[in-house]
């Protein structure tokens, strides 16, 4: 008797096979020594010591595959300068896994989920993602490598090494380092047109207010030139605001509590509010396109507090004179700087960690830093995390308005330590603060007790959570 295959049976068979295949493909990688889940409010406890795998020699003959996670864009010109030589010297074949900055971290997260991360990763400190990767064992400690060859960490800025260490272990070397938004970029022509005093390193915050008010120019009901702007919304700036007008910080030293109930922390927030709503000279930092940086580039902004690295974008400005002084120290003696670094580390997935370590050293070397700083096109103005790059004659001699390079070198030595949420939940904290900060800038909220209470009670809800 002939018996047909029913569509239902075929579909069922196909579905079952597919589910099995998918389950096999999607299954998480084999468990590794990471850290035990933590109770809310507690830091995760290490399940086992994190140690660097034993060094292994590359297979003689065929080059070993070697994968790098870097972003496309700002560093693009560096790879041709270092990779061919490295491949030859270490008998490896480098595969660059490059995606734009906006998707770079997500790409790495996805590959971690697939158990397929490469050997070396380029990561960031501003959004806690480096710390999360390191604390969970995705990036391995480098201390053994450092100790074995007595590698001198002193060549790097101390603030970068401090930032890239967690619980006494070093998780990466600094590919870049900077003190964040302590540059006071100013359009000299716009300031002169308004008879404003040009900002200098001796200017006070009151001087900046006066200069911004004088240079803010209207044409009828249109704003022709904005007097002032600060960068958009992010955790970096929330910390900076909490620092620059008083000796304060957004979080307590252990990163477990909000300090926004302290008046000295609130002072910077009030100052920003006033620039936008009392003096009415601020360009909204909420506009993303064009953002304040683009407005400065186009001569529409007189004073812009921004990352010192922004200078690279302005190097070719010809239609007006500009300069960069350092941000004033507020009454508490802080400029409101914030140590930041790009972290380059070795992953636990690497089968040749000794070679990966060598690459980390090459990426963070003096030569790479200078190449980054000198490259044309995608220029980096925060090259390397070391003084011998920032102070090298090649980079100091680059054409910038007078004082810009010297001021950059000054603030590099003063970067204040970064305190992030202990549980690496910076983006979540930011989403609590964002709408309130936006309302403050828009004048919908006043910088009063009720406002700060809202943040001060909202942030702990996130800080009370465990590490992911």
């Amino acid at each position: 008797m002939t018996r047909g295959i029913s569509r239902r049976a075929l579909l069922f068979g196909g579905a079952a096979s597919a589910v099995l295949l998918a389950a096999a493909a999607c299954a998480p990688p084999a468990p590794t020594a990471t850290t035990a889940p933590a109770k809310p409010g507690e830091a995760a406890k290490p399940a086992a010591p994190i140690v660097a795998p034993a060094a292994s020699e590359p297979v003689a003959g065929a080059p070993a595959p070697f994968r790098l996670h870097v972003r496309s864009g700002p560093e693009e010109d560096l790879w041709p300068a270092i990779n061919p030589k490295f491949e030859q010297e270490n008998n490896v074949k480098i595969e660059m896994i490059q995606v734009p900055h906006a998707e770079h971290v997500q790409k790495m997260q996805t590959m971690v989920a697939a158990g397929d991360l490469g050997d070396v990763i380029h990561n960031f400190t501003g959004d806690s993602i480096f710390h999360l990767f390191f604390a969970s064992g995705i990036a391995i400690p480098l201390d053994k490598f450092v100790a074995d060859e007595k590698f001198d960490l002193g060549v790097y800025y101390k603030f970068t090494i401090d930032l890239l260490s967690l619980d006494g272990k070093l998780g990466a070397l600094p590919f870049k380092g900077h003190p964040s938004r302590v540059g006071i970029f100013h359009n000299i022509d716009a300031l002169r047109a308004g008879n404003a005093k040009i900002p200098t390193n001796e200017s006070s915050y009151d001087d900046l207010v006066a200069a911004a008010k004088s240079s803010h120019k209207m044409a009828g009901t249109d704003v022709e030139t904005f007097g002032w702007s600060n960068p958009g919304r992010d955790m970096e700036f929330y910390i900076i605001m909490s620092r620059f007008m008083g000796k304060g910080d957004l979080f307590s030293a252990d990163g477990k509590k909000s300090r926004l109930n302290e008046e000295k922390v609130q002072a910077g927030w009030k100052w920003i509010h006033d620039m936008h709503n009392v003096h009415k000279v601020g360009m909204s930092p909420l506009a993303t396109n064009p953002d304040p940086s683009a407005a400065f580039l186009n001569g529409k902004l007189a004073i812009f507090r921004a990352n010192v690295g922004t200078k690279a974008a302005y190097q070719k400005i010809e239609k007006f004179k500009w300069g960069m002084s350092v941000a004033p120290k507020g009454p508490g003696g802080q400029r409101g700087s914030l140590a930041q670094a790009d972290a380059v580390g070795v992953t636990k997935f690497s089968k040749i960690p000794d070679i990966a370590w060598k690459y980390v050293k090459v990426m963070t070397s003096k030569e790479s830093g200078i190449t980054l700083g000198k490259q044309t096109g995608n220029k980096s103005a925060t090259p390397g995390g070391r003084a011998d790059v920032y102070e090298s004659p090649e980079l100091v001699g680059l054409e910038y308005p007078e004082g810009v390079q010297k001021n950059t070198a000054t603030v590099m030595k003063e970067a204040e330590p970064t305190i992030l949420p202990f549980n690496f939940r910076g983006p979540e904290v930011q989403r609590v603060i964002d709408p309130l900060y936006e309302a403050l800038v828009l004048g919908r909220e006043q910088p009063n007790k009720a406002f700060f209470d809202k943040i001060h009670t909202g942030v702990p809800e996130v800080l009370d959570k465990s590490r992911p």
């Binding site: 295959i5 569509r7 597919a18 493909a25 999607c26 989920a113 909420l286 964002d434 936006e438 309302a439």
Partner: protein, 313 residues
């Protein structure tokens, strides 16, 4: 003894059975590229995400089974859950209603075979080819509160323009403008044109002879015969609108003051920014159920409101 006619009947039945089986196998073979793709690349990950939604999964550590805790947290603790649903619902209703009306209007216009129809069709269709990220950047310049073209033009006629993307009240309307600019003249319009061209001309002629004016012809001929097309566009439009992400991710980051904080943006933030992939999976499944319910409601509605010529459904 078996009669000859019965023997023939058995043979014929066996032949038909063999034919049906062969046709079935061939049919499945033909659709197997899609079928395998769907099962492995869609259904498999979907089922895996259902499992993840029942776990605490932070990407950097192995999933830990926690039952329905993620669903409970979403419905009881997540302050942005309802905000995101509300904003998404608002966006979907406006963009679907206005977008469909606009697309239908353009399709009717182009169906009249007026002057330069082909050029106009291309002109209307072009914005839909612009990638959404490029559209948002372009409109960011146009809608900039201080140096944007739109507010400049408004000032010329004595109107002080709003902050658009920087204003909690105007950010959503600004996103409507961006979204509708790119969609009104796009695929939906083309589908409407196809639907309009499928309506028999004799029906219009008959209605005309009976004294029906333009409005009556539109109301009693065009709309009823276009209801399957409208239903199709509504279903796809609603699913697309509910899944809105890029326009807010690039243009507003969900702000200002959460005015454009859409649901999929919330899923993305929880999954990738907060590394709570298990929770994000639960949010996605809640959203899936909402979309299925909406789509089911639309299919239920079609029984009463959608006219299929010849009674086919």
């Amino acid at each position: 003894m078996v009669s000859p006619s019965r023997t023939m009947s058995v043979h014929a039945k066996a032949r038909r059975g063999g034919l049906r089986r062969r046709e079935a196998i061939e049919g499945f073979l033909f659709i197997s590229p899609w079928l395998v793709g769907f099962l492995v690349l869609n259904l498999g990950p979907m089922l895996y995400s259902l499992y993840l939604s029942l776990t605490r999964y932070t990407i950097v550590r192995d999933p830990v089974f926690i039952g329905i805790q993620n669903y409970i947290d979403a419905l009881t603790k997540d302050r942005l859950f309802l905000v995101a649903l509300e904003k998404t619902g608002y966006y979907a209703v406006v963009t679907v209603v206005v977008g469909l009306t606009g697309s239908l209007f353009l399709a009717l216009l182009l169906d009249q075979n007026l002057f330069a129809t082909d050029i106009l069709r291309t002109f209307f269709f072009l914005p839909s080819l612009t990638p959404i990220v490029a559209s948002v950047f372009l409109w960011g310049w146009i809608l900039h509160p201080n140096i944007g073209v739109l507010n400049y033009l408004l000032r010329q006629i004595g109107v002080s323009g709003p902050g658009w993307l920087t204003s909690p009240e105007w950010a959503m309307p600004a996103l409507f403008i961006i979204a509708l600019w790119g969609s009104i003249g796009g695929g939906r319009m083309v589908i409407f044109i196809a639907g309009l061209q499928g309506i028999p001309r004799e029906l219009y002629e008959a209605a005309h002879i009976d004294g029906a004016n333009i409005w009556a012809r539109f109301r009693h001929v065009t709309i009823p015969l276009l209801t399957p097309t409208i239903l199709f566009n509504v279903i796809l439009g609603l699913i697309s609108a509910l899944s809105v992400f890029a326009i807010a991710h690039v243009g507003t980051r969900g702000g200002p003051v959460n005015a454009t904080y859409f649901y999929v943006l919330h899923i993305y933030n929880k999954g990738f920014a907060d590394s709570e992939m298990g929770y994000a999976a639960a949010l996605a499944w809640i959203f899936f159920v909402i979309i299925v319910v909406f789509t089911g409601f639309q299919f239920w509605l079609q029984r009463h409101r959608v006219h299929y010529e010849g009674g086919l459904r």
